[in-house]
């Protein structure tokens, strides 16, 4: 019958209208500033720089290799390399960024800087309430503004941070083992050198038995 569908449609909308007052689950709107939905773990907005420990200046992981600066498609990263060096987490002497700026008004949140960083120094933040009244200065973030602690990273991306920490712990362990081995080898060498005059008088077998364990460590 002509007009039947219109009546059905009107009934449907009436059901929605009255239903929204009775059944709360019909209303899917989240009243944003007061209510917040938890963000999915893969959320990404803009990059930040990671630091270890408490001091964002000393603990900064970035070694100023400038790969991210070169890879950045919209070229929003600006890095100036330091003149001097400081030790990184494994104790190796590295450069650090004297200046590290990201222009977030240019950044397109592509995460390529994160993908290419070999030092786990740059990651994506989940913070999105970033509006500012200062259009140029307020959106040009310096090294100090970009620095975030590893605890914060663990908080916003737990899975990713866990993997990262594991990898770095292994790297550190390897480096320490290597250092220990090197130290042992050096010690053995020194011992050998010290023993050499004695061996000349006492005979070779004693010194050979002494240097055996040190060799094993090196081959590990």
């Amino acid at each position: 019958m002509l007009g039947e569908g219109i009546i059905q449609g009107l009934m449907e909308t009436a059901r929605n209208f009255f239903g929204s007052y009775v059944e709360k689950e019909r209303l899917v709107t989240v009243q944003f500033p007061e209510e917040r939905r938890s963000l999915p773990e893969a959320t990404r907005q803009f990059p930040f720089l990671l630091y270890d420990g408490d001091d964002p200046e000393r603990g900064l992981r970035c070694v100023s290799c400038q790969i991210c600066e070169k890879e950045c498609p919209p070229r929003c990263i600006h890095i100036e390399k330091s003149k001097d060096r400081k030790p990184d987490f494994v104790g190796k002497q590295q450069f650090y960024p004297a200046v590290f700026n990201i222009d977030v008004s240019v950044c397109m949140s592509c995460q390529i800087c994160v993908e290419v960083c070999p030092f786990d120094a740059i990651r994506m933040d989940t913070e999105f309430e970033l509006s500012t009244s200062d259009r140029f200065g307020g959106l040009l973030w310096t090294k100090r503004e970009l620095a975030r602690s590893n605890e914060y990273y663990r908080q916003i991306h737990p899975t990713e941070a866990g993997e990262c920490d594991e990898r770095r712990a292994k790297e550190l362990a390897d480096a320490q083992a290597k250092a220990a081995a090197a130290a042992a080898a050096a010690a053995a060498k020194a011992a050998q050198a010290a023993a050499a005059p004695a061996a000349a008088s006492n005979g070779a077998p004693g010194s050979g038995a002494k240097s055996e364990p040190a060799k094993k460590v090196v081959t590990q």
């Binding site: 019958m1 002509l2 007009g3 569908g5 219109i6 449609g9 009107l10 449907e12 909308t13 009436a14 929605n16 209208f17 239903g19 929204s20 007052y21 019909r26 209303l27 899917v28 709107t29 009243q31």
Partner: protein
């Protein structure tokens, strides 16, 4: 009026009495001017206020229909939203296109609002509360209603924009097509009451048999005529589902695309004023104007009845807007000429049958009334079913399947 109903009558006539009291206390030479101003100013204040209320009601209602909250930020439950909207539209920049016809572009919203206000002149919004009691009030209303088309085309043409011109063309085609069923459905009422005066049409309906009023909508031809009138009114005021002239998804805003700031707000105001005016005419013609449906409710002031009915019709408009999607241009025209026009002619025939059938048969008024009602209902329903069959012939309605989506 008897003494017993005096308090109710006083409440009913409070505005009329107030006006006379104020006019009496003004010096002689200014009495005419004050009287005119006291008639006009309430109309200019009350209906835009109703517009403000309606916008927030509409947004809340549409929100609930779509399972949202609607505006709820400005004031408690968002009731001050219209104030925020007013501030916004007043402070926005008023942009006029460089190649526009500046004079016509400037005049169009003013003409539209002025004509929309003029239509209220003949509406009886209460007992003794018609601004101008014209003998040809209904004719005046339709003449003024047709003038809005001029303003719409002025806006569309002077903007010098292809979308605004398209919107204006659509608006003209639609308004002229739907003006015919709008007028023809009210012709039935004019035939029965034998007058074009809106005041007298309401007076005719303000009688009671037993407790039930003689509203036209209680007759078969009146009910069908009212439904057709409201459909045509929806099209006439460019409301959804007949909002092709605006069609924001296809021609952005239609004829008022090049208007911004307060002029844009004026277009919105005019649109809602037209909606109120045409609803007011529908109330006057079919829903008994300011009269109450039952005699035992007659103590409620007449102006409350009028505005109550008006709000009910506005809720209907909002409900329909929240339900139906926009028509296509060919569907719009087919509906006007193949359905609305024949059905309004049928309603006129039914009204004629009603007029000439005797109200009483074999001395029984009730039996005669029922027979007359059934015969007239058959005169409307028969052609409706036949027309529906013809229009739906060869049309298979089935669920649309998508090859790539889903």
């Amino acid at each position: 009026m008897s003494v017993a109903v005096a308090p109710a009558f006083a409440a009913d006539q409070i505005f009329v009495a107030l006006k006379y009291w104020l006019v009496l206390h003004t010096p002689g030479p200014f009495q005419t001017l004050v009287s005119i101003l006291l008639t006009i100013i309430p109309i200019i204040v009350v209906f835009p206020a109703l517009f403000a209320v309606t916008t927030v009601l509409e947004r809340k209602g549409l929100g609930r229909i779509q399972n949202r909250y609607g505006p709820n930020r400005v004031g408690p439950w968002g009731v001050f939203q219209p104030l925020a909207d007013a501030v916004k539209s007043l402070t926005k920049e008023d942009i006029v296109p460089r190649s526009a016809d500046h004079v016509v572009h400037y005049l169009a919203p003013l003409v539209l609002v002025a004509t929309a206000f003029l239509a209220f002149a003949v509406l009886p919004i209460g007992r003794n509360m018609t601004a101008v009691n014209l003998d040809a009030g209904v004719l005046f209303f339709f003449a003024i209603g047709a003038a809005t088309e001029l303003a719409v085309f002025m806006a569309g043409w002077s903007s010098r924009n292809k979308y605004s011109l398209l919107g204006a063309m659509r608006a003209i085609a639609q308004m002229i097509s739907y003006e015919i069923p709008l007028i023809l459905s009210s012709v039935a009422v004019i035939m029965i009451s034998g007058t074009l005066s809106t005041t007298r049409i309401v007076d005719e309906q303000a009688h009671y048999t037993g407790t039930v009023a003689h509203w036209n909508v209680f007759t078969p031809w009146g009910l069908a005529g009212f439904i057709l009138f409201m459909i045509a009114a929806t099209a006439e005021t460019n409301r959804s589902p007949f909002d092709l002239p605006e069609g924001e998804s296809e021609i952005i805003a239609g004829y008022f695309i090049e208007y911004s700031g307060f002029k844009f707000a004026l277009f919105f105001l005019a649109e809602y004023l037209e909606m109120f005016a045409v609803s007011g005419l529908g109330i006057t013609l079919f829903l008994g104007g300011w009269s109450s449906p039952f005699s035992f409710l007659a103590w409620i002031p007449s102006w409350i009845w009028f505005f109550g009915k008006l709000l009910a019709l506005i809720v209907g408009f909002i409900w329909v807007r929240g339900t139906l999607p926009r028509l296509r241009m060919d569907q719009l025209m087919n509906f006007a000429w193949k359905f609305m026009l024949p059905m309004t002619l049928v309603v006129i025939v039914s009204a004629g049958v009603w007029r000439f059938l005797p109200a009483g048969v074999a001395g029984s008024a009730a039996l005669g009334g029922v027979i007359r009602w059934l015969v007239c209902a058959l005169v409307v329903a028969g052609p409706y079913i036949a027309l529906a069959r013809v229009l739906e012939r060869g049309r298979k309605i089935e669920k649309r399947t998508y090859r790539y989506a889903e």
